[in-house]
């Protein structure tokens, strides 16, 4: 192992990601090479500095606010179903009703009963969230997208 290999391997050993034989080789080199011995000492000192950085206690009531946010989110989701999906589903039923009614009428009154697929299907293409909703913003953020 030379000093370049040492530098590349040092982080992996400190992070506990190196194979045992790599760690042994690193130790042996550090014992015989002063500058690499210093390097590994410095890197572990940086690690200790990082681990020693202060952490803050979350503000009081954060859990309650999170849980309240979840309830609002659920209500919003249900609200969206009531506002959009239910009227849309109602419209589908009405249109289907008209079509079936027409076909029955056609059948009774001698017109050719052409079986057609309803064009009013495919609600699955609708987004789960409306475009400017809270849910959409979070969904975009979670995908790492934004409006830049």
């Amino acid at each position: 192992m030379d000093c370049n290999d040492f530098e590349k391997l040092a982080g992996r050993v400190l992070d506990g990601e190196a194979a045992p034989e790599e760690a042994t080789a690193l130790e042996a080199h550090a014992a015989s090479c002063e500058s690499c011995g210093v390097l590994i000492g410095d890197l572990s000192a940086l690690g200790r500095l990082h681990s020693g950085l202060p952490e803050l206690e979350p503000p009081a009531g954060l859990t309650d606010r999170i849980m309240a946010g979840i309830k609002r989110f659920e209500t919003g989701r249900t609200g969206w179903i009531w506002r959009v999906l239910v009227p849309a589903a109602a419209a589908v039923f009405v249109l289907l009703g008209i079509r079936i009614g027409t076909q029955i009428t056609d059948a009774w009154f001698g017109e050719p009963a052409v079986v057609q697929h309803s064009e009013v299907t495919g609600l699955e293409h609708l987004d789960v969230y409306p475009p400017d909703s809270f849910g959409k913003a979070i969904e975009l953020a979670a995908k790492g997208e934004d409006d830049e």
Binding site: E17, L49, P54, I66, G69, I70, I138, A141, G144
Partner: protein, 184 residues
């Protein structure tokens, strides 16, 4: 109770189970956001978003995955998109004013030692703030949160070798920034 059991119960609509998940992880996620955004106020909002998003992702959570990595994946996505818009340099002051004095936790009682620890931490935090946002997040996931390379790779959506290479470069830059304090 194990994470998996709590998540299964939460999936079934058990809010108390989900609350336990929040209580278990909110502190580390909150601090992860503070370090990656430099803002205490924004970190509180982001912690809320992170857990609402986790709740919304209950259906995508698989028993085999580590919940912690799963949460960090959501948190990292939020932090990265936030840092593209607004990232404040993390200052030791906000951490100290936030209620925790790092120097006072030092084992030494001598004021000059405490002052030195404070100076060292200040320099470290400044060097950390100069790193690209994703690099400091990856460094914090490794050293601060002790995630493995594989877990970090899953959390940030990169390969293990790319995580390793970022850690290498981040340490190189930090060493350069901290050169006056290091023995080399």
């Amino acid at each position: 109770m194990e994470d998996d059991i709590l998540m299964q119960r939460a999936k079934g609509g058990d809010h108390d189970a989900f609350r336990q998940v929040v209580e278990r992880y909110q502190r580390e996620i909150y601090n992860y956001f503070i370090r990656s955004t430099g803002s205490i106020e924004d970190s509180e909002d982001m912690t809320q978003h992170c857990f609402v998003n986790l709740y919304n992702s209950l259906g995508r959570y698989r028993r085999s995955a580590s919940l912690r990595t799963f949460i960090y994946r959501i948190a990292t996505n939020l932090a990265i998109s936030f840092s593209r818009k607004r990232k404040l340099p993390l200052s030791l002051d906000i951490l100290v004013e936030g209620g925790c004095d790092p120097a006072s936790e030092s084992s030494s009682d001598r004021p000059e030692d405490l002052a030195y620890v404070r100076e060292l931490q200040q320099a470290y935090v400044e060097s950390l703030a100069k790193l690209p946002a994703e690099w400091s997040m990856i460094l914090d996931l490794r050293i601060g949160k002790e995630l493995s390379y594989k877990e970090i790779a899953d959390a940030v959506g990169r390969s293990v070798s790319s995580v390793e290479s970022i850690l290498f470069r981040a340490r190189e830059k930090l060493s350069a920034g901290m050169a006056p304090f290091l023995s080399r």
